[in-house]
Symmetry: C2
Subunit: 242 residues, 2 copies
Amino acid sequence: MAYELYYWPTIQGRGEFVRLALQQAGADYVDIARGHEDDGQGVPALTAYLEGGATTRPPFAPPFLKDGDVVVGQTAAILLYLGPKLKLAPKAEADRLWAHQIQMTIADLTAEAHDSHHPVGLALYYEDQKKEAKRRSKEFRKQRIPKFLGWLETILSANPAGDQWLVGDKLTYVDLSAFQVVQGLLYAFPKATKKTLKETPKLAALAVRVADQPRIKAYLESDRRLPFSEEGVFRRYEELES
Amino acid sequence: MAYELYYWPTIQGRGEFVRLALQQAGADYVDIARGHEDDGQGVPALTAYLEGGATTRPPFAPPFLKDGDVVVGQTAAILLYLGPKLKLAPKAEADRLWAHQIQMTIADLTAEAHDSHHPVGLALYYEDQKKEAKRRSKEFRKQRIPKFLGWLETILSANPAGDQWLVGDKLTYVDLSAFQVVQGLLYAFPKATKKTLKETPKLAALAVRVADQPRIKAYLESDRRLPFSEEGVFRRYEELES
């Protein structure tokens, strides 16, 4: 049976980390909220789960994945679950835990990237927290982007199996997510991110290596890949980088 | 061999979620940074890991746990690893994933509680982001505390095994963490949290049930339990609740 991914239909957002894994594996999946309401899909199919009536284990927020009876929320937990099934996780238990730990840290970076344009709160428009966003973005650009990407570079350098992939000597879902976060940061804060990537050449090379995977390449060139935009987690507002 | 917990020695912070699990299990552990430098402990033993020299898998930030050769960072990943060993996790794989998902959401709530007093950035003092903190705290009190605690209440209500514990019919590490986050919020935002807890009576009762566990009770009454303070993740600043 096809996996069912539930995420907002018009943005990459956090759902994209899961989409990339499904695409790289060539997995059979339905991006439910991008389907038609006539087929029982679309956004109402998503919100039914959030409202709690559809399962005794309601996710807190999208994305979430349905695989038969299993409903899993939280991006990193979805990938922990999917990774082995898609053959995108390392084999040993300790390595899987390490991959998961990296994924959770990428999730933290993603949350901070989001908060760079929404430092006061989700319920308010960006326009109503622009001043605060400017201060937070400055801190994010100066302190946090270098710290997070520097940590990923350290991991690549320290990997006993070589610096091609983050965990072991094969591509895992964590590499796909590292690619995605680099893309997102390049979109949102191009100057700061390019500057940091010069100091993290192994991570920069990893991102290129991921983009060159045949299935990822085909996906990125297709219209299944939604564009980055000012609706997503990573947003480009010029005033936040000046 | 004793577990080694690495966390800042003077605050509860994120380390407390792990301490509570170790205490409830009566586990043999060393709170490394609270030990003496003469014994190879103290803060230098912690920072050695963060600087990357001590392991090929350096944690991004404390807390992290060392168990023999395994070093695990990220609070929720530590508890995913420790839960079964401490007999504080559910047995079935699907239930463990569900517990982990709840734990990750409690981690998100904890991060937002932190950002209520540090909305601009970690590198700046609270005093230098007081104005922004006031706005963010208002959003946090009005929107986020009710949303997160309401979600935990929904889970308790929907648990097919009853509303005593979050997962299944036994106490798991997730219940300890729910207790801790309720305590932290009661310290930081007493008015808003008490108001919300009136609408989430099952969660309020769960917190009391956890506090009454004999080992937790003894721990909370001991001087091993550090006090909440204006140095931790949950902070009480009266101006943020007025």
